[in-house]
Amino acid sequence: MNINYVTIRQGILEKSFTFSKGNNLIHSEKNSVGKTTLMRVILYSLGYTVPSTKMFPLEKCEIESEVVSDEGRIIKLVRSDASYIVCFEGDEVQTYFLPQQQAKLQLKFFKTDNIDIIDNLLGVFYLDQEKGWTLLNRGVVIGSIHFNVEDFIQGLSGRDCSELKKEKVKLETELEKYEQISNVTKYKESLQRIGGSILNENPDDELDSQIEMKQIELNLAQNELRRIDYSLKSNKQVKSFVDSMKLTVEMPDGKLLRVTSENIVGLNDSIDYLIAKRKIQALECNKLMNSILQLREQKKQNSGVLLSVDSIADAFDEMIQKFPYGYLKVESIKESLKRQLKEVKKQIASRTKDNNSVLNSLYINVIRYARELGVDEGVNTNYLFTSNLRVLSGALLHKTVFAFRLAYIIEVEKILGVKLPIMLDSPSGKEIDPTNVQKMIDILKKDFDEHQIIIASIFEYDLPSTYRIEMQRSLLE
């Protein structure tokens, strides 16, 4: 596929840049005139979310581009807002919302909707001036767009690891949580070493304790009240029985005396006694109930009070001390999660790497170009997945990155049948001497002459029939 032109409209200003199907050089004598911006405009026009440069706000422009697929289909793209793009192909007009429908849009020219591939394609064909020349197999391409070699290979080789990846994310999240919990338990133990009177100093605990004590006292008092009521009822029953009996006794002098509750010795006393006792007991119960209410009110007020910084720290310490799990328990859970995560990663790696012709093919091409660039020492199949970038620096890394990218481009062409454009921003970089740069250019000339190549640089390169775009002082000048 190749890009025919890009037109930039900003207010009343408009400028078009056309490109050849072959080699293109976006050139300027000086830096900071818009070369990188133009590269980013191209990507923006393809539906990517790229950051604007300082000088040029992309989202305030209308960008139109024309892309030709390898089969000759012409696709016009117009993006006047970051959130959508309009695609014209023949009589068909289609609007795609971005970034949600980016994959659907790019299916038109990349000929795949495999997410693992689509998400990683930019890291294959575009080398950004800043990050591009140090992105080997995992990292940031530009802005928030990443490249991951495992996902890329899984996509190209059609090996679906989505379930395992979900499991991996879940375990990683869980592990992160437990890292935090582990910090909490460590802090808890440090508090305990300092000396744990913090729990006792918590006013809420003190209040809860008092409320509980009062409640127990109240229960006992209420039980006593019930006992008194029972005795009082019994005595009153005697009284009403006596009154109802209407007994009469004969006195020694022969007089008759009616027996009533008033003249039975001790009966009224037994009742008055219990009435008084009951009153005292009821007052005691009321007193306790009021105490409990007051304590509850105090507790409520305490919880509503805005705490000072000191008391927030105390409250935090208090909470931490109450955390029921110890450091060792948490560490054992962490170890278990780590083991599970390792196992899942192993399964993903196994599914990615085992008997994978894509992997073998990539390796062969990486070796080939690394050898041509003189950086092939220590390269094996696992090297494709290396994380050890410290051993690579300066020119070594620069050239190795180039070798990897070329291998990726070849593989994409093999699997998808798409000749990706190769976009290189400042291939001379900071550390590369002209000899090495020439070696890179020679490889492009030799093996990638059917790809559209777009280079942005202040330098000249020995590429045949280079279409030159000379930048002036700014992008739209």
């Binding site: 006992r227 010795v265 001790g266 008055d272 219990l274 006792k277 005292i280």
Partner: protein, 325 residues
């Protein structure tokens, strides 16, 4: 709140001072404090308190004047024995010649005992009232009542209570505090009743004393001497069976049987109760409903209950008699 507190405490003072002839007491009735006596006459009091009485005399005369008006008004409705202006101000008339009469301890000064200048002041207040009170019945009573420290504020009232129970030969640690608390609660509660005829009867005031003095852990402690238990064993039974002891000593059908039997034995002497218990406890095991208990516990419990019942009866009679209830 301070005013109500003073009023209730003043009522306690007046209750105690008139206990022998008291019938009932009411606060916040037709007058701040109303005491009905046995002969149908009344002691009526106006209670006026100043928060910082010892230093603030700014309104004392106005208060005194108002009190005279109120007492004069109510005196028309009742058969009055005494009309009392009760205050905490040590200088209730802000009058030089009478000041010394009220300083220091609680004081009680009839109108007739006031110096002329003070009388003149009162007469002046009364001259502005249509139907003024009879100064023969007028008394000025001062109770020191100040500060937020309860011990200090209630010092004199509690001393009065102590003296009162002391006169009944009651020795009970903490009784004055308990009585003070319960009487204040009863008076406060009475003050909230809108029906003016709801009063506290004398028996309502006296029975709490009896309840405290004969309560669990008080009276029955002395029962130890009737038993053959050592101190530890005795307290263990008393604690464990406390509710049973109280229960049996409160149920009239059990109490009357034991008290009647005791009375009929006509035992004399200070140890009459102990002798009765030691001799006859076996007869009441079934009555007390403790036959199923283990023998040692059962036997000693019977003695403790018998003793408690008889001592209680004795104390009730004694206290009632001393206050003429």
């Amino acid at each position: 709140m301070f005013g109500f507190d003073f009023q209730s405490n003043a009522a306690i003072i007046l209750m105690i001072e008139n206990m022998e002839v008291l019938n009932s007491v009411r606060v916040e009735g037709d007058e701040d404090i109303q005491l009905e006596l046995n002969d149908g006459t009344y002691v009526l009091a106006q209670a006026k308190a100043v928060v910082n009485a010892s230093t603030d005399t700014s309104n004392v005369r106005a208060k005194a004047k108002k009190a005279m008006e109120s007492l004069s008004e109510v005196a028309r409705k009742y058969a009055v024995k005494e009309l009392i202006y009760f205050t905490n101000s040590p200088d209730p008339l802000k009058e030089e010649t009478s000041r010394f009469l009220f300083l220091g301890l609680p004081s009680r000064v009839p109108y007739d005992d006031l110096p002329e200048a003070a009388k003149k002041l009162i007469d002046e207040f009364l001259s502005q009232i249509d139907v003024p009170l009879n100064t023969n019945k007028l008394k000025f009573q001062v109770l020191p009542f100040e500060t937020d420290d309860d011990e200090q504020r209630y010092k004199f009232v509690k001393q009065k209570i102590s003296d009162f129970v002391g006169e009944m030969n009651i020795i009970y640690d903490g009784l004055r505090n308990k009585l003070h608390d319960v009487w204040l609660l009863m008076l406060d509660n009475n003050g909230t009743k809108t029906k003016r005829d709801i009063t506290l009867k004398k028996k309502d005031i006296i029975w709490p004393i009896i309840v405290y003095v004969t309560g669990h852990g008080i009276l029955d402690r002395n029962a130890k001497y009737c038993t053959d238990l050592d101190e530890g064993e005795f307290y263990e039974i008393e604690r464990k069976y406390g509710k049973l002891i109280q229960d049996r000593s409160e149920l009239f059908d059990i109490v009357t049987r034991i008290v009647t039997d005791y009375t009929e034995k006509h035992l004399a002497g200070r140890d009459a109760i102990e002798r009765f218990v030691n001799e006859y406890w076996k007869d009441y095991i079934e009555v007390l409903g403790i036959t199923t208990l283990e023998e040692t516990i059962r036997d000693n419990l019977a003695k403790i209950i018998l003793y408690t019942i008889l001592r209680k009866r004795f104390e009730i009679d004694r206290i009632k008699k001393s206050v003429k209830l």
